[in-house]
Structure formats: C-alpha cells, structure tokens
C-alpha cells in the first residue's frame, strides 16, 4: 500500500511540471505584448527594451520559464497588474472561498445522492424511483446560474429569508462558516452548486447499485443469511471506488467551473477572480489563478486514486 502510494505521489510530479509549463505558455500565447500595455504611448524603443530587461523578458524562453518556476516554488506568482498586489495572496484567498463551498456542496450532494441512488435502485420502477429520477434529471438539466437566479428570487426577494449576494458584513476576510450571520450568505451558492452534481451522482449511484446487486456475490451474501441491511453495506462498499472517482470529478468540476454561480452571487472565489482577470486583461492574476486551480485538480485526482486503492485491493497491483 505505502509503496503504491509513494509511487503514485512521485508520478504526480511530472504532471505538475506539465501544468506549470502550460500555465507559463499561456502567457506567451496570449495575444498582445504585455510590455506594450505597461508603456505609455509616448515611450521610446529604448524605454521598452529597459522595461523588457527589468522583467527578464529579454532572456530566452526556457530561462524565463525556470526563473518563473523558481519563484512559483517559493510561492511568488508575481504582481497583479490591475491592483499591483501580490497575486499569491489574492488567488489563495479566493481559492479558499471556492474550495470550501465546493467541498460542502459536493459532500452534501454525495451523501444525498447515495441515499437517493440506493433507494431508487431497490425500488426500481416504483413511484419513489420515479420521483428520485425526476429530481436527478432536474439537477442535471437545469443550468446552475439560472437556478441561482431562481433561488435568489424565491429566498431573497420574495421570502427575504436569505441575503441575495456577497459574503456579508464580515466580508471575505473574517468570514466564518460556523457563524450563522455569515453562513447564511453561503447557503444559496451551495444549493446552486450542489444540484447538478446531486443529479449526476444520483443517476450513477442508482445504476452502480443496481449493477452490484445483480452480481453473483450478492446471492452468496444472501445465501449465507445476511440481512438486506448487511447486503447494502457490502454493495455500498463495492460502489465506493466508483463513487469516490465521481466525487473527485465533480469537485474538480465545481472548483473550475463555478464562474457563473460565483458571478451571480458575487461570491469572491476563483471563478469570480477569473472573470475579473479576463475582463481587465490581468495576465499574472489569470496565470496564477489557473495554476492554482490546475494544481488543485491534479491533487484531487491523486487523493481519489489513493482512496480508491485503499478501498479496492485489486487496484494496488497495477
């Protein structure tokens, strides 16, 4: 097990390096010369060359990459062009805002989808199954930003139960998920984020439970006298490797794809930050955000892999 884990961890290093190369290349491919944007229209060619040297842009690309990589390793992602603050702090802050609601949403969706999926598989064809399928299809097909707007209209505008947008009086700095006054700001984004994964995971859980219940070993479990509850425990354990993969995928999807939901709720996460960086052409900020998101993606995959191999002994071999 430990050998497998160590190998798997070592194998992520080249992947992470690849990620940094892509992030670095992103700036190179981006249209427009970043130096031109910094210079005043009246600046001379000599001014441009001096600025280029100051930013290290006169060096060959591989050298530039390694200098940049060296800084990234110590946590220096450069300065944001728009507000001239360190990108690292801004990105990590936004990332925390994103990852926490994404985690809450995805875990919530996971737990509910497990329960729904198992019930639906057991009551296949019955009314409960149909109701659960309806909820799942709704979750899959409704665009989350539209859902965001709808929950705002219902809970904030009509019922005035929850605040519509933002992170409340504490702001992003002092926000606490354990304080109701703050947490209520997170509720609607969580609902909007959780529904699509809930739909997808319910569908997958339902079909994988049904598949497991059809396997031969379930008959052995029943034949040896286990109660249906004990059989379900075996079935759940057997769908776990797949469920964990699904969970990781959805989590990655949420942290990368929450631009629309975060924009609707002005939730200051990475989606919101990406949106801002693109609109203001803030290349270092964009690069830093993408790097953090991509790294998170790779790490989530690593955790999923390790968790899977802990659950399923057959996976350790390969």
């Amino acid at each position: 097990m430990w050998l497998y884990a160590a190998r798997r961890i070592v194998l992520t290093i080249p992947i992470l390096l690849g990620v940094t190369i892509i992030c670095f290349a992103l700036v190179q491919i981006a249209p427009g010369d970043p130096i031109q944007n910094l210079l005043s229209p009246t600046a001379s060619a000599a001014d441009a060359a001096r600025l280029r040297a100051a930013y290290g842009l006169d060096q060959p690309l591989p050298v530039q990459y390694f200098i940049w990589l060296g800084k990234v390793m110590v946590g220096d992602l450069g300065m944001s062009i728009a507000n001239n603050t360190p990108v690292t702090g801004e990105v990590l802050h936004a990332f925390m805002n994103t990852i926490v609601i994404a985690l809450i949403s995805v875990v919530l969706a996971f737990v509910i989808s497990m329960i729904f999926g198992i019930i639906a598989a057991y009551r296949s064809g019955k009314l409960v199954d149909k109701a659960i399928t309806a909820i799942a299809v709704f979750g899959i097909s409704v665009p989350p930003f539209w859902l965001g707007v709808i929950v705002v209209i219902i809970f904030a505008v009509n019922l005035s139960w929850l605040p519509a947008t933002g992170m409340g009086a504490s702001g992003s700095e002092n926000f606490s998920y354990f304080r109701w006054a703050d947490f209520k700001f997170a509720i609607m984004p969580i609902i909007a984020l959780a529904l699509p994964p809930l739909g997808i995971m319910t569908r997958t859980t339902r079909s994988s439970v049904a598949e497991i219940l059809n396997q031969d070993f379930v008959q052995t479990l029943r034949a040896k006298g286990l109660s249906e509850a004990q059989v379900i425990i075996h079935a759940v354990r057997n769908i776990m490797p797949q469920a964990v993969a699904m969970l990781g995928l959805q989590l990655g999807y949420l942290i990368g794809g929450s631009v629309l939901v975060e924009t609707v709720f002005t939730w200051p996460g990475t989606g919101y930050l990406l949106n801002k960086a693109v609109l203001t052409r803030d290349i270092p900020l964009l690069q830093g955000t993408i790097l953090v998101l991509a790294t998170a993606f790779v790490l989530i995959n690593l955790v999923v892999d390790l968790a899977q191999s802990m659950i399923d002994p057959r996976l350790k071999r390969s």
Partner: protein
C-alpha cells in the same frame, strides 16, 4: 408376467419422515412480457446424510429449484407454489425474517462460479467470519479462529496466510474451497451444491468432489448436488433425479437410473455421453432444443425430441410410474416389467 415376484413394499416405505420433503414445487417468473415456468411440479424426498444428484440440460430448472429451497428468488417477480420441508421447517411458509436465519445455518449453498461468488473487497477471513458471527453471535476473534479451522477442514494450504488474502489473490480451486468453507461454517444440515466443480480444471474438480463427499459423510449432512456430469453423479450420488423442462422425469437409486435408465430422455443422454467416451461433454448432445419455458406445450415436454413419441404423447402429461424400489419415470411407454422393475417398452401404447 407370471414370473413377476411380488415387490416388497415394506422395504421402500421409510421408517421415519424423510429429512427433506418437496411436494409439487412450482416456480414461475412473471414479467410484463412473459411468464417463465421454470419449475413445474417437483416432488422428492431426501433422507438425512444422503446425496441427491440432479442432472439435466441447461435451462431445465435445476438452479431455480435449488434457489427455491433458500427462497433466493426476486420476491416481486416470482410465484412459488407447493411445499418444501427441511427438518421441522416449512420453507415455503416461514416468515422472511425466519428464512434469513435458516440461510447458511440449516441450509447453505455452494454456487457454480467460484470466481464471482465472493465479495472482491473483503478478505477471505472476513467473509467466513462474517457468516459465523451472523449465526453464532460469537466474538470476532472466535469467528476468525473458526474460519481458520474451516480453511483447514477444506484443505487450503497455509490457511493463516490465506485468511488475509483477497479473493482475486486465489486460484479458482482455492476460491471454491473458501466458498465451501463458508457454506459449512455453521454446520448446515442440508448443503445445496449447484455445479460446484463445473468451472474448475478437471484435476481440481476431482479434488473438490472427493473433499465434498468426505465432509458430507463426516458431518452427516444431506446434500443436493447439481451437475451436468454423469461421471460425477455416478461417484457421489445415492439418488439421482433427471430434470427436463422443470420436472423430474426420472428418479431413483443412482445405480437404477444410471445403469438402467428407462425414460427415453435419460437413455438418450446416457447414450450420447457413453458414445463420446468423455464425461465432460455437455448434455446438449441430444438432437433438438429444450422447450420454451414461456409457452410449454401440453403433454410430455420431451415429445418433440423423442424418437418413440406417439401421436398422443402430446395430449396429457405422462403420470409418474414408480416401482417398488422407488425408481420412477414419467413416460407413457414405461411400465412395471418382469421382476417388478420399472421398464421402458416402445410397444406400450400411449393413452387415448
């Protein structure tokens, strides 16, 4: 018929109630598009400590009959009729709760496919211990100790190490031994073995067979053993039942059925295997196909394939004819011959 000696009926009458009694068992699977009549009136008795071999083509309802004895069929789609009694327990009548308690303790089952019969995510020890704890409520340590004993009983080499192994780490033969150990873990009185050796290599088959037979004798269990293999049946059976289209069409002491079969189907089956000199040849060697269980014809189900079939064989179902030694066949052309023995005679006219 003057030389016929009067059969000694007292010999055939059991002194006590048989341990297992199945009477007119019928199982059908109902779905929206069709009703599959998999078992159509099976009756048999089995004494304590005896082995009944059930043979028959694929699809003849052998596994369905076995699963009925544990009530393992999907509840909402299955209709079971008839009576099944094992020991003092009315299998068809007990509550679901009580049935769960009987599974694995009074009756256990060994399945055909050792590769898929075990949960891939639990160790062998966990799976055996789970069964022991389920029925005997002992501590985890005691259950593991028992699991070790059981692996020893079924001759698994280095059992301590194997307890911690996962199913995929074991060969087919070892897995089947584990499945058998699990089935034996709570000392069942009736063991149902559904083709337990079919999926294994020939040499492993023999080992498993010898092992099962030995343990069955030592524990004094009754066993119902399903097989395609007449050689296997000859080795371990006390009684043999031949199934066709969900019915027992011939039944009797192993030597009677295997050495002097009277039903045309059994005769054809034995002839086809004897000719090939190979016991592993599947029984499908008889020309034609088994009937469609969704639309069973009237009369003798074997008629379309039977070379002796007369025009009236398809009118009614032939009744069971039994001789004094308990040899039974369901065929219009079977009667009691000289010496009181069951005898097939192509000249007997089917009823009109």
């Amino acid at each position: 018929m003057n030389d016929m000696t009067a059969p000694d009926f007292t010999l055939a009458t059991p002194q006590t109630e048989p341990f297992v009694r199945v009477e007119d068992l019928r199982v059908k699977f109902v779905s929206r598009d069709a009703t599959v009549r998999a078992v159509n009136g099976i009756s048999f008795d089995l004494e304590r400590g005896k082995v009944l071999c059930v043979i028959g083509e694929s699809g003849s309802g052998k596994s369905v009959m076995m699963r009925s004895l544990l009530r393992l069929h999907p509840k909402n789609r299955t209709v079971i009729e008839g009576t099944m009694r094992v020991g003092d327990h009315d299998i068809a009548g007990v509550s679901d709760r009580a049935m769960i308690d009987l599974r694995g303790s009074l009756i256990s089952m060994v399945f055909q496919e050792p590769m898929t019969a075990l949960d891939p995510l639990y160790t062998v020890g966990d799976q055996i211990a789970e069964t022991v704890r389920r029925h005997e409520g002992v501590s985890k340590e005691a259950a593991w100790a028992r699991a070790l004993e059981l692996l020893d009983l079924v001759r698994v080499p280095s059992p301590e190490r194997r307890l911690k192994a996962y199913p995929h780490e074991l060969s087919g033969g070892l897995r089947q031994r584990v499945v058998i150990a699990m089935a034996l873990s709570c000392r069942p009185s009736l063991l149902l073995a559904d083709e337990p050796t079919t999926a294994l290599d020939a040499s492993v088959q023999i080992q498993i067979l010898v092992l099962l037979r030995k343990i069955q004798r030592e524990m004094g269990m009754s066993m119902i053993f399903v097989t395609h293999d007449l050689g296997v049946a000859a080795q371990i059976a006390d009684q043999v039942a031949v199934m066709y289209a969900g019915r027992i069409i011939e039944y009797g002491e192993a030597r009677d059925v295997l050495l002097s079969p009277q039903h045309p189907y059994t005769q054809a089956m034995l002839a086809s295997t004897a000719k090939d000199q190979d016991r592993d040849v599947p029984l499908e060697a008889i020309a034609g196909n088994p009937p469609d269980l969704r639309a069973l014809p009237d009369g003798c189900s074997f008629a379309p394939r039977c070379k002796y079939a007369g025009p009236d064989c398809t009118l009614t179902m032939p009744p069971p004819i039994t001789d004094a030694w308990g040899h039974m066949a369901r065929c219009f052309k079977v009667g009691i011959g000289p010496a009181g023995k069951l005898r097939f005679d192509a000249k007997i006219a089917e009823p009109v």
